[in-house]
Symmetry: C2
Subunit: 451 residues, 2 copies
């Protein structure tokens, strides 16, 4: 075993006067007249431990190893500090475990995010990306805790699939055929297969047996868009609940988003303060608006609100048009000044599985729009009536043979149910203030780029 003490343990105090051995990476170092200082981090704490070296005892040649980025092992005595932390380490021995070549790209100056994006294997050593990935972890845990507490079961829906839930057609094909071969009978699954764009369809049977379930896994879109919010590979949370209608769904979404924000406020206070200072001044406001009650408006009312607002938009939507991001943000930021659910969209705009309202024109959908970003959740009550569902699948040109098992759920014990999808990275962007999806994913996959 490697004998060492975690820096978190040293900093948590109570060990003054004891001798400890620590391992860590040099964040910064400097030399005074008689002593040299190094700030060490081993990942166990956001905080660095200050280590003090007697220049005469160690000698300048030895202390030259304290370069930013180097990994060192130090044994010393824990003493009271007059600096930021309660304690510091008075070094007695120093060993450079992993030196740094002079061409180490992360030098002391602050680097641009676009520069750091070229080195996903190194950028997590910076303050910014340490904060991003710590928050990512806590958000992930918040999600699992919320659903566990609410009595949901976590389900692993398949990644390789033959259905295309959203009907968008922008799917990656998965194959073991040699390049150039198109004989799908010889392929691994003896048919054409794809990467899933959503686990919703496969989650529904589990809602219709276990009651409440959620997925939390990667989904894929082969979208040839190269923007700050598009990734080819991202993680989705997709809950499905039996005996839920649109109102139940909306109440759950609001409770869920509020829980995540509140959990992060508690676990990541220092990181939120860091993002507020360096990236998004309005981050505190985002957390505050999430504490208030969310607004709700039908799509039809929303179109009317936007139509009566002259001179603000590059184009005003008519009934049946998609809302653009400028419209979504206007509703959330200006008109309502808080998160708002837009409900009951025209059926023609939405997938076949959404519940047809009694008006025969709109479906029981609910999108959640938030200030600063726009849409972060899309959900709906699901169509549980077999004849209506079949008609809509046919009208949208789907191959019914691929969906036969999905339709069967409505033949045997069908029940009203609802669900939604939330993109993990977009929620993380919203709650951190990071503006490019490439900056919240460890190794982002985007159009034309592995990273």
């Amino acid at each position: 075993m490697i004998q060492r003490t975690g820096i978190d343990k040293v900093l948590s105090g109570g060990s003054t006067g004891t001798t400890v051995t620590i391992y860590g990476w040099v964040r910064t170092s400097r030399s005074g007249k008689n002593v040299a200082f190094a700030a060490l981090n081993d990942g166990s704490s956001v905080q660095n431990l200050q280590v003090v070296f007697d220049r005469e005892a160690f000698g300048d040649e030895s202390l030259a190893g304290l370069q930013a980025g180097a990994c060192v092992c130090v044994t010393g005595t824990v003493v009271e500090s007059s600096g930021e932390q309660a304690v510091e380490l008075a070094a007695r021995s120093l060993q450079v475990v992993g030196p740094v070549d002079t061409d180490f790209p992360l030098q002391k100056k602050r680097h641009g995010l676009d520069f750091l994006r070229t080195m996903p294997h190194l950028r997590s050593r910076t303050n910014t990306f340490g904060a991003v990935f710590r928050m990512s972890h806590h958000l992930s845990l918040a999600i699992h805790r919320f659903f566990d507490t609410e009595g949901f079961y976590h389900i692993h829906t398949p990644i390789i699939t033959e259905s295309d839930c959203e009907g968008a057609g922008e799917t990656f094909r998965v194959t073991t055929l040699p390049a150039g071969c198109a004989d799908f009978d010889q392929d691994y699954f003896r048919r054409k297969s794809f990467l899933s764009v959503s686990g919703q369809l496969e989650a529904e049977p589990f809602a219709l047996s276990l009651g409440k379930v959620y997925t939390f896994g990667p989904t894929f879109r082969a979208d040839p868009s190269d923007t700050r919010t598009h990734a080819a590979e991202f993680w989705m949370i997709e809950p499905e609940m039996a005996f839920y209608d649109l109102d139940d769904n909306i109440a759950l979404i609001e409770r869920f988003v509020k829980f995540c924000a509140s959990y992060l406020s508690e676990k990541c206070a220092a990181d939120i303060a860091f993002f507020s200072e360096h990236y998004e001044k309005g981050l505190g406001d985002r957390y505050r608006t999430l504490e208030e009650g969310f607004a709700r408006v039908s799509y039809t009312e929303a179109i009317s609100i936007l139509g009566s607002t002259s001179g603000v938009f590059s184009s005003v939507p008519s009934w049946g048009d998609d809302l653009a991001t400028e419209h979504e943000r206007y509703l959330a930021e200006k008109h309502f000044g808080r998160p708002v659910f837009v409900t009951d969209y025209p059926a023609s705009m939405k997938p076949f599985y959404m519940f047809m309202n009694p008006d025969g024109k709109t479906v029981a959908a609910c999108d959640l729009l938030v200030p600063g970003v726009g849409e972060i959740v899309g959900g709906s009550q699901r169509e549980h009536r077999l004849p209506v569902l079949t008609d809509r699948a046919v009208a949208q040109g789907l191959d019914l043979s691929v969906y036969s098992w999905y339709l069967e759920l409505r033949r045997w014990g069908t029940a009203p149910h609802a669900g939604f999808g939330l993109g993990f990275e977009r929620l993380l962007m919203y709650l951190s203030g990071m503006e490019n999806i490439r900056d919240v994913i460890p190794f982002p996959r985007t159009f034309g780029k592995m990273y």
Copy 2:
């Protein structure tokens, strides 16, 4: 909102005399002389709620809707019960929400697992698969809780990748090229890309910055094997820890596996009892052996033990050979009678990233073998010395340009570190007693079959 009370709430008592409306699926129903009974389940509880109908008041035509599998809505009064539960429901109204066609495949008799495998969208309505997927949920939560409590950060490593961590070559290719086209410059990522077989390589940079991290996501093997333990798509847990050597790694693995078993013992006692009765009589023993200390033996000693055991095996391994499942099980079941770590395998058998021992022949690997199954964990200290790592990558014929970022981790602040990989479904099989991997995955993907 759908006005209803969850069956868990009704069963938890205290509501005798109140009127409630419940929704649920009929598990069984039968008729007595004056009354009819139906056992309803809504997924909120493992237990069913017994509902009693007055035959004269409801009429046989109405009660004919109480077929197994149908979804019904019942309003009634909660009354004390003389049956298994403390309370039952005296029905006042009945509505069949989702009837069951006569061809519903899940009839009352017990079905074989192979028959149920043909209907992954329906089998979670059975007692067996309800238990499997409830346990799957709790195991998943146990994993996240363990690592969160131990100070690990959860990392989403990429699914689409250009590296092949295990070097096994059995990868799925991911493409947006038209079938038959082999011009990879025109592909989505402008190069050949694959589904990841492991997130380990991409997790390592995060261990070398955040200290301790873990992945928990799907991995893929295009293995043309059609056995009870092979799936093309399965979920792996891959922790990586800075400043851990082989001994630290082994101690963590033991703590981790014990925590999972102990968590399930607490959360899934009824399901474990069910599996013990119907599937694996020795399940209680498995949980008990996990509570004891695990054994440890070097690969070299293991070969010597196996060599001195005559007449038991179809073949006796020599030093340098893989251990077959019969050898693994002999060590865990007969020789040690408990879970055992086998360490320090010949370097020639293991991937390039494992730490070379001072003997120059073996690497600091540790596999965990358990009674009844064989190997469930593979791990090692990682090679953190750049010259050694480069030599081994070259010797194994890897394309260094693909791994340049991985090698760079050893140029700038390298540190000793270790990690392991555990297959989620195999652990679930071990802890439930289910013997076919297809029976612990919602929609299994195996050779030649989507399910």
